[in-house]
Symmetry: C2
Subunit: 207 residues, 2 copies
């Protein structure tokens, strides 16, 4: 088991770790992000994290468990990026644009190639045959759906959008827009085009 990182200075007993578990997990995510679950070998993961094979196992379990932890961690990142964008007092239009800009910062990093959404690009493939991955994927999607729906319902109550607009439909469109941006980013659509797409949909939602 991985030691709780809560007490960072509590002197551990044996040989000290040569790696930082959180950083290693982040780098494992990067590796999976690039080539997917099946396409990423333990050698790849070992190289990406700088950990040798046995350390990888001791820290995260086998490849499948490591992937599940990576996906779980990705969704917590996604949750905080959503909170950053939506849980504040920005007008709906600005909050949504911040939401998509945050997503694009992940999908199309300033350094390196566009890579899309980790979950959509890698978990979707495995979801059919791997119930745990499917469940985790579904849970993450639902989390985003609910966050967007909550914000849009609040906007309607606050009179930010037309009273006759259906918040559920608008939230579905907001989610769908995130998904299409994720796919297109991976397919090579330039960032400016994705931003324009987000802007026009946000315009329609806030009409």
């Amino acid at each position: 088991m991985v030691q709780k990182s809560a007490s960072p200075q509590a002197k551990r007993r044996g040989r000290p770790r040569a790696y930082d578990p959180d950083a290693a997990l982040a780098q494992a995510i990067e590796a999976f992000w690039k080539t997917g679950y099946s396409g990423t070998s333990l050698d790849d993961l070992s190289a990406a994290t700088g950990m040798n094979r046995p350390s990888l196992y001791a820290a995260f379990g086998d490849k499948r468990e490591l992937y599940l932890k990576a996906l779980g961690h990705y969704w917590t990142l996604g949750g905080s990026m959503m909170t950053d964008a939506l849980d504040n007092d920005l007008p709906l239009r600005d909050a949504l644009m911040r939401f998509y800009q945050n997503a694009l910062a992940l999908y199309v990093p300033r350094t390196g190639r566009a890579r899309g959404c980790f979950a959509i690009s890698t978990a979707t493939t495995e979801a059919l045959e791997e119930p745990k991955i499917r469940a985790l994927l579904a849970r993450g999607l639902r989390g985003l759906d609910e966050g967007l729906a909550r914000r849009i319902r609040a906007a309607r109550e606050a009179g930010e959008i037309k009273a006759d607009a259906d918040p559920a439909t608008l939230a579905a469109i907001a989610s769908a827009t995130l998904h299409t941006i994720a796919i297109r980013a991976r397919a090579g659509t330039p960032r400016a085009e994705l931003e324009a797409l987000a802007r026009s949909v946000v315009g329609l939602i806030c009409a």
Copy 2:
């Protein structure tokens, strides 16, 4: 090279094939659909098609070429399903609903598990490292975009939708809805829920 299937009765010279190339390609698509490109082995493909390894190579080239052919064939299917739904004289609302129903027939077959979109579920993963797959994915997405945009522009000219609606934005939303349905189908969302999602978005587009 595969013999042109155009002249089915022209007596071929050597030992006759024990397989139908079109059926074999369709079954290879099924296999890739289930477990993705990297997750599908040549043994899997051999079992799915009923062809042994050397025949597979003679007919389709290596695994990568076979996958590219599978993806290409899938997009031609997608094109004809789009034509079926949009190139007729149905009102926009009915045409769009037919479009989504056609997609759902692929994504959530009546027999067997929901599997989502072949291209989105498998090509997206590989797109980052495989330029040919990325290009083919982008081309397929563009084809759907353009088909939907054309139909929606026509609807506006025909006065089926409000004159002040932006057809490009509505088309983007129609595409995004297809993408989100594809992802959600693979994540296990029940068909009825996906249909309801399509219906509510179509309702908004045709408002």
